[in-house]
């Protein structure tokens, strides 16, 4: 007889004892080899394809990594002159957009009830052919094409195609165009084109609002060039960037000096600077011939005379003019997208004059680059086509990777005009506001699945090749056009030919003239595929200045009405013009300036907010003469109090799961064109603001931007340029309680140069892509449970401003696991899931972690992220996951691993090559993509490695050094003119 309790104990122990022995493995895996193995594909090893990013017109070359036929990561192509081996935040998010669940899976057509139904390609193409045939029979120009900027093969094809249909209506429409700049080039030099800017050659840049570090023209290339120049100019007492704008964009926040003129008077600032240069005899000798002409053109605009209109004192203008003229070479960049209104053309013209005066033309700015964006449709051409559509002159409209319903302000009337077109076709790959109104959708492949080419400027012929087979039943637009043309008439068939699109591209790229050249042509094609295109140096042109006096007459603006504001609709660093709003990474990663996720906001200056009785988060209503919107207020000191601003990309259609019904569209407030000139404008003046409701929850992942007023000094440190070679002694001598760690082989470390980091978030998106970081969504973000392993903190230092000249003094600090030598987290893990590995990494073993979260509690940097729930990936987003990185489940802690998978892969490659690891073999995802080259990784045990040399730099420091954590990451102080000497 045994007692019940004893019985249960016995059974329990015996049962578990049985389980202690090895159980029979339950087979859950199958091994499925290929039927026929593709060439050069080794299972378990990635394949790489060179292609071109088409997220914006910059045309960055990319190398796309694929595993098992799935696209997992995109990197910049090191051989490419535009991207130089780097990609921006939008380029990194491209791999997510391939697997976006909202993508169209088949062609669709509207049925009699107006509902989209799937249709076969054969039926869709014959339907389109029939409509086009009917349109052709109605006369000329009855078919219209509005699409993204094209060059090369697709440009040639669509041109031939439309001519065969007897139509000249083809618009290359980009949301952000360069009309004022092109116009100014025409006036100044007789060259109707966008100039080539070479920022790495500029010792000092004056930007009148151009957002060249985020979205304008070619932000990866410009960030890279700017950072390079900035590294050369560390000790310059005036810094390297002056921004003259009523609002600081991300580019503006990076500036060393900021002049905030009255909105609309930016051109006067430029002219006043030109006047000062001429008047004070500071002009470059090369400007000699033009000096007299320029002098008379800028004569009315002395700094003293315009001081009142621009709200900036003359002494500041003269000082900046002196700095600009003395830097050799310097560079004046104009207004960018949000530019100036009115007088946008005059602003660009004045900037060109400044460049002439400083001798920059032919140095940091030149002509003859034949940018693709020179061929963009003007707002006038868009309005004309809109009118034609509205009048019923267009029977078939084809929309190709453009979304004018959303991006054109409503007063343009595009939506109504579209409604008058009987048959609207879209080639979009995913739903948008224009496909919501289309009759037929023929989804194009994603650009990462496409053949094609794109030449952003002369000398850069960039190729697109598929990195993976098309995921869905989509078809290359080129193939659709060819097929449809072959169905309409014999003439259209003849005009277009009948090759497949892939062959069409290939033959455009390899044109042998004789039989002997066939081999060379084939070799040329293979070489182009391998390197991502053909790149050669292009000739620069140094044009001569014309008489510009007449164009520079600026009538004084009427003063703004009391209690009104100027509203600026800004391009979004993440969404661009809104196109990226449906990518969850771009929604979750906080905006670089406002640090807000998953929602929109309206920026209001704290003084204005006080006057209006608004606190941060209150709902405000903004009314212009064209529309009205409401959004939560976000107080931002980086602008004039009479300015309010809002990013574009919110208020999108419900057909997108993440972007839909989220926030308000800033474009609703905008006028159809600039006052007095026929180009696009992204500002509205005379706007009224009022409080409309109580606070909304705004998901801010960094609520406080530290300033001197706080008791704690900002973590992102600054140093005066004159002291960049002085090492600050540490506050305390280091103390060791334990014997130091031994690192027998390598010791991995990182150096982050805060002087280069622009805060663009490219590294954050790259980390999401590389490390299978989960997107947690709004609710968890609001609770502070976002999973990003690296975050960019924005730290502002309040520097007492000299009269008229402010210093943004902002430091963007990438914060990630510091891999501390004396890690507070390692000491408190009860199960040894985190420990210090012999190579200096703070290791996190997911399988051991039991989720006590003591480590995160102890981490002073708060870089440890806990999986509060099992986050899934909506199909097919899971295809993008990197198989080299464990996908974490609920209950485990995760954090930056210094891309341990890349360290292991580099070791394997080195072993297979029979050599030891070299500096540069291991590049974590963040370091690889940073356009500013701010992050450097390597072996601290190698005295010749870049990271060792940078870690020894006098500007180097450790964040929270006083806690004695001994991080493996050394930050280099940002050089900021005016930084106080005792800044710690």
């Amino acid at each position: 007889m045994i007692e019940r309790r004893q019985f249960l104990k016995t059974i329990g122990i015996s049962g578990s004892a049985a389980l202690l022995e090895q159980c029979a493995p339950t087979p859950t895996d199958e091994l499925i080899p290929y039927l026929v193995a593709p060439d050069n594909v080794v299972p378990g090893v990635a394949s790489y394809y060179a292609t071109t990013c088409r997220q914006c017109p910059a045309g960055c070359g990319a190398i796309v990594k694929t595993m098992n036929g799935r696209i997992t990561k995109a990197e910049g192509n090191p051989a490419h002159p535009i991207s130089r081996g780097r990609l921006c935040v939008r380029g990194q998010a491209a791999v997510q957009s391939v697997y976006n669940p909202d993508r169209f899976r088949t062609p669709i057509v509207r049925d009699a009830h107006g509902v989209f139904q799937p249709i076969s390609w054969a039926d869709a193409e014959s339907l389109l052919a029939a409509k086009l045939r009917a349109a052709m029979q109605g006369g000329a120009d009855r078919v219209a094409w509005i699409g993204e900027l094209l060059t090369g093969a697709l440009d040639t094809l669509t041109s031939a195609w439309l001519s065969a249909l007897d139509s000249r209506r083809r618009l290359f429409y980009e949301t952000f165009d360069y009309e004022p700049l092109v116009e100014a080039g025409d006036i100044a030099f007789g060259r109707r084109e966008v100039p080539r800017y070479e920022l790495d050659r500029a010792a000092f840049i004056v930007s009148f609002g151009a957002e060249f570090l985020e979205t304008w023209l070619s932000n990866v290339e410009f960030t890279n060039g700017y950072a390079r120049a900035r590294r050369q100019q560390l000790r310059d007492p005036e810094g390297t960037l002056l921004v003259v704008a009523p609002r600081l964009s991300l580019t503006g926040l990076n500036a060393d000096a900021w002049i905030a003129p009255r909105p609309g008077s930016e051109a006067l600032v430029a002219l006043a600077m030109a006047h000062a240069i001429v008047g004070d005899g500071l002009a470059h000798p090369s400007a000699g011939a033009d000096l007299r002409a320029i002098e008379s053109a800028v004569a009315p605009y002395s700094p003293e005379r315009v001081a009142g209109a621009i709200d900036v004192d003359a002494a500041t203008i003269r000082r900046m003019a002196r700095r600009f003229a003395s830097a050799r070479p310097s560079l004046a960049i104009g207004g960018g997208v949000t530019g100036s209104d009115p007088h946008a053309v005059q602003l660009e013209l004045a900037c060109l004059l400044l460049n002439v005066l400083a001798g920059n033309v032919g140095e940091s700015i030149s002509y003859g680059a034949a940018h693709a964006v020179d061929r963009l449709a003007t707002r006038r051409e868009i309005l004309e086509t809109t009118r034609a559509m509205a009048s019923g002159a267009v029977d078939v409209l084809l929309v190709h990777h453009a979304n004018p319903i959303f991006t054109l302000p409503p007063p343009v009337g595009f939506a109504d005009a579209l409604a008058r077109v009987p048959f609207v076709v879209s080639f979009a790959g995913a739903p948008d506001e224009t496909t919501d109104r289309a009759h037929l959708v023929l989804p194009d492949h994603h650009f990462l699945e496409s053949w094609g080419d794109y030449a952003p400027r002369a000398g850069v012929a960039s190729l697109l090749q598929p990195a993976a087979a098309p995921l869905f039943d989509t078809r290359a637009t080129g193939d659709v056009l060819i097929e449809v043309a072959n169905q309409i008439t014999a003439d259209t068939a003849r005009a277009v030919g009948s090759t497949r699109w892939a062959d069409y591209v290939r033959s455009a790229w390899s044109e042998p003239t004789t039989a002997n050249d066939q081999a060379a042509a084939a070799a040329g094609w293979e070489a182009a595929l391998h390197s991502g295109g053909r790149f050669e140096a292009a000739d620069a042109v140094r044009p001569t200045l014309r008489d510009v006096a007449r164009a520079l007459v600026i009538d004084p603006d009427a003063p703004a009405a009391a209690d009104t504001y100027t509203f600026i609709a800004c391009p979004s660093t993440h969404f661009y013009d809104g196109r990226g709003a449906n990518e969850s990474w771009l929604q979750e990663v906080p905006d670089p300036i406002a640090k807000i996720s998953w929602g929109d906001w309206i920026e209001i200056h704290p003084d204005a907010a006080r006057r209006l009785g608004i606190v941060d988060g209150d709902v405000v209503r903004v009314t212009s003469s064209h529309g009205q919107i409401e959004a939560a207020a976000h107080l931002y000191a980086g602008m004039r109090p009479d300015v309010i601003a809002m990013p574009l990309g919110y208020g999108r259609s419900r057909s997108s799961r993440h972007a839909g019904a989220r926030g308000s569209n800033a474009a609703l407030l905008l006028p159809p064109e600039a006052a007095g000139s026929p180009h696009a404008v992204w500002r509205a003046s005379g706007v009224r603001v009022e409080r409309a409701g109580p606070r909304r929850i705004v998901i801010m992942l960094q609520a406080h931007v530290a300033s001197r007023e706080d008791t704690s000094a900002p973590l992102g440190k600054i140093v005066d340029p004159a002291r960049t070679d002085v090492r600050e002694p540490p506050e305390h001598a280091p103390v060791d309680l334990f014997p130091p760690h031994e690192h027998p082989a390598h010791r991995w470390g990182m150096a982050i140069d805060l002087n280069s980091c622009t805060g663009c978030n490219a590294c954050v998106a790259a980390c999401y892509a590389e490390n299978n970081v989960a997107v947690v969504g709004e609710q968890f973000c609001a609770q502070g449970r976002e999973m990003s392993w690296i975050r960019i903190e924005r730290h502002a230092h309040a520097i007492v401003s000299e009269s008229g000249l402010r210093r943004p003094a902002t430091v963007f600090l990438p914060m990630l696991c510091q891999h501390c030598d004396e890690a507070p987290c390692e000491a408190v893990c009860p199960v040894y899931a985190t420990y210090h590995n012999p190579e200096g990494l703070n290791a996190q073993v997911y399988a051991r972690c039991i989720g006590t979260r003591f480590c995160s509690n102890n981490c002073p940097y708060k870089v440890r992220r806990f999986n509060w729930a099992r986050i899934g990936w909506d199909a097919p987003l899971g295809e993008q996951l990197n198989p080299d990185v464990t996908v974490r489940s609920a209950g485990v802690m995760e954090k930056c691993t210094f891309c341990i998978q890349r360290i292991q892969a580099a070791k394997r490659t080195a072993k297979l090559d029979g050599r030891s690891l070299r500096d540069g073999d291991v590049v974590p995802a963040c370091a690889q993509t940073c356009p500013a080259e701010a992050i450097v990784f390597g072996d601290l045990h190698d005295p010749q490695s870049r990271v060792s040399r940078l870690s020894a730099d006098p500007r180097g420091y450790h964040v929270l050094e006083e806690l004695n954590t001994r991080p493996a990451i050394t930050y280099l102080r940002r050089s900021v003119p005016g930084a106080p000497a005792d800044e710690r």
Partner: protein, 159 residues
């Protein structure tokens, strides 16, 4: 009372599971003994990834057909193979040596270190049907790593 029960349970488990090593039936009754011991084919002819990849891989069907288009065609298993090739169906082999998902094993490093395939996979050349004769336990891995001075740092395999 407790200890004898535990001992009995352990002995029972060892008998139940130890005596019959895992040798699942495969879609095609491929014999390593014939191909390796008799025909002297190298492991890497079919498991070609072993030298350059974390994954050793299994020969694509194309490789099998390379010989078996002509060799031993009357054999029922070869006929099965050819039918699958004609139908364009890849073979779904049942996995015998499996590691849990939280373990990352790199074949290439081990081949470079001259670890023979038999060390972890047993005497495959003698097996008609692949049998799991060596249990890939963490203890076995760590023991060998320590003996041969390979890294026994957790991050080597768990990341």
């Amino acid at each position: 009372m407790l200890v004898p029960s535990a001992v009995a349970a352990i002995l029972f488990a060892r008998w139940a599971f130890g005596a019959h090593p895992y040798a699942p039936p495969q879609p095609i009754d491929f014999s390593h003994r014939v191909h390796v011991a008799d025909d002297k084919l190298d492991c890497e002819l079919c498991h070609s990834g072993a030298r350059r990849s974390p994954v050793a891989g299994i020969a694509p069907l194309e490789r099998c057909i390379g010989c078996h288009k002509y060799v031993l065609t009357p054999h029922p298993e070869v006929a099965k193979l050819r039918r699958m090739w004609e139908a364009g169906k890849p073979i779904w082999w049942t996995r015998v040596y499996t590691l849990p998902q939280f373990v990352r094993f790199d074949h290439a490093s081990h081949l470079l270190a001259k670890v023979g395939c038999e060390t972890c996979h047993g005497d495959v050349a003698s097996m008609d049907r692949i049998t799991r004769v060596v249990e890939p336990t963490m203890g076995a891995c760590v023991r060998c790593h320590r003996e041969r001075r390979a890294p026994d740092d957790c991050l080597t395999c768990h990341y």
